[in-house]
């Protein structure tokens, strides 16, 4: 399943370096989602379903526009709607964020995954799940700071947005980008996307959004899906977008220093035993006691056979 046209930079559960010679000379890629240009039409959700052959069963309406209500193994992107009463301006703002995998530069899912090569990061920055190697443990869910991966009830494999790595590999933009009618979703090199975001942010600031900015959180090494937000100082307004996402300290401990420490400790215990035996010898019953018991045995025998 690994695409030959996309080189791999990092593999899950692999301690040796991936092939390094080929790197994208034009830089890594990014998707830029300009929340201020989104009209909430959900064409991106539809395009994602079409291209990836996914069909989420229709759910029930929970009184909001979000449909489905959450990401699922069949819904790799979901529009999240927030009605924000901006007290400073007196405006009711409709904040619509396209949720999905952020394609972290330092992915918590990849760090947590125990199966070699089930999660890969391509040299262009895309983080992809290879379901044929997935064991279904859910460690990626535990590792992800954005609550993105979903384990399928049908096959117990983890699924999420691939950033259309199959399309990108042949020089096309992701399906959601292709379909977006307002140009709110763009795709290109990370540098060009940042340059474009700068223009948009300057424009938004002119229009009264003084806190407009780019969401490219440093805590996960930056992301290959970025947002232009009107309120970049309050990402949590956008249905709980984390303010400072990081791979949790517990996960870093579990998947970091604990591994070599545990191996060293257990190895030392096993070797310690062996060398203790070799240097001190076995803890045997003393000859004296054995002789004593043999004497007792003989006496007991005499008593029963006079």
């Amino acid at each position: 399943m690994s695409l030959q046209s996309l080189d791999i930079k990092r593999l899950s559960a692999t301690t040796t370096p991936a092939p390094q010679a080929r790197t994208p000379q034009s830089g890594d890629v990014a998707k830029l989602i300009d929340v201020s240009k989104c009209i909430g039409c959900k064409a991106c959700q539809t395009a994602c379903m079409e291209w990836n052959d996914l069909r989420q069963e229709p759910g029930v309406n929970h009184g909001v526009y979000d449909n489905p209500n959450d990401l699922t193994e069949n819904a790799w992107t979901v529009m999240r709607y927030t009605e924000y009463d901006n007290e400073a301006t007196g405006n009711l703002e409709w904040l619509i964020r396209k949720d999905g995998c952020m394609h972290c530069e330092d992915p918590g899912c990849l760090k947590a995954c125990p199966s070699p090569g089930a999660i890969v990061q391509y040299t262009n920055g895309i983080v992809d799940f290879h379901q044929e190697k997935c064991v279904g443990c859910g460690y990626c869910v535990t590792g992800c700071p954005f609550n993105v991966p979903r384990i399928s009830k049908k096959d117990s494999k983890a699924y999420k947005c691939t950033l259309c790595s199959d399309r990108v590999a042949v020089g096309q933009e992701p399906a959601c980008v292709k379909t977006c009618p307002t140009g709110a979703i763009m795709f290109g090199t990370k540098k060009s996307m940042k340059d474009h975001a700068d223009e948009r942010i300057a424009d938004l600031k002119e229009r009264g959004f003084a806190q407009a900015g780019l969401y490219d959180p440093a805590g996960v090494g930056g992301t290959h899906v970025m947002y232009v937000l009107h309120h970049a100082d309050q990402p949590s307004l956008y249905q709980g977008l984390p303010t400072d996402p990081k791979v949790s300290a517990a996960v870093r401990l579990w998947k970091g220093v604990s591994k070599p420490l545990a191996m060293a400790a257990l190895g030392a215990a096993a070797l310690g035993g062996l060398f203790h035996y070799i240097t001190k010898g076995p803890n045997d019953v003393s000859k004296e006691l054995e002789d004593e018991m043999e004497r007792q045995d003989r006496e007991a025998e005499k008593e029963t056979q006079p």
Binding site: A13, T14, T15, P114, S115, P116, K133, C134, V135, G136, C137, G138, Y139, V141, T142, N147, I151, S156, S248, A250, V251, L253, W254, S258, K259, A262, M263, A265, L266, A269, A270, G273, H276, Y277, K280, G281, P282, N283, D284, V285, S286, L289, E290, E292, M293, Q296, D297, A300
Partner: protein, 208 residues
């Protein structure tokens, strides 16, 4: 089996069976758990029919181990209550490690080290069971922060348990004549008098 009619019975057949159910579960859990803990051990999943099967089986084996461990706990906990003589034994443990067990204080059925091991395993089992259940995504979907903590606890408790069991197995090998107690139930009187004199006297009435 009694090689000598005067050998002492240390474990009944049901105690031995119980111990080995726990032991087999432990070995299977350690192998499958290490496979998911460190990439170097991932190939161990092949022993269980591949990655997904390892993931499916591990928690169920854990449940079996927990149930039989609880049974074993109720069989043995009274014999493992710490006493003053166990503390004395532990204070002199360096002599024991040095291979000189002649001056060690007299011990009952279990010595201080065995008792510490017992309670260490109880503690480890509690932590492993609680954290393991929290990580069991086939049945539960708990808040992610809880699962993260559980993952660390599970790993630490597992290393703790494997370390204790390495000690447990080594002590059984090192102290010659011990393993037969768990295989066919009996030990020689000489073994008992040397290593567990208090228990020897209780069993034989020999106070020499």
């Amino acid at each position: 089996m009694r090689r000598n009619p005067r050998d002492l019975q240390r474990y009944s057949a049901s105690e031995r069976a119980n111990h080995w159910v726990v032991g087999i579960c432990f070995i299977l859990l350690a192998l499958s758990g290490l496979a998911f803990f460190h990439p170097a051990f991932f190939p161990l999943t092949q022993l269980f029919g591949g990655g997904p099967w390892t993931r499916i089986l591990h928690p169920y084996i854990g449940v079996v181990m927990m149930l039989f461990f609880i049974m074993m706990f109720f069989r043995f906990w009274r014999l493992n209550v710490m006493e003053q003589r166990d503390v004395e034994w532990l204070k002199n443990v360096n002599k024991m490690i040095d291979g000189n067990d002649h001056d060690m204080p007299e011990q009952g059925k279990y010595n201080g080290g065995q008792k510490v091991l017992f309670w260490g395993l109880v503690l480890g089992m509690l932590a492993l069971t609680a954290s393991g259940v929290a990580m069991w995504r086939a049945w539960l979907n708990l808040p992610v922060d809880m699962v993260r903590i559980a993952s660390v606890v599970h790993a630490v408790a597992a290393v703790w348990m494997i370390g204790l069991i390495i000690m447990h197995v080594y002590a059984a090998i090192w102290t010659r004549g011990t393993i037969r107690a768990m295989l066919y139930g009996t030990v020689t009187r000489a073994w008992a008098k040397q290593h567990h004199r208090g228990w020897y006297r209780k069993m034989t009435g020999d106070n020499s």
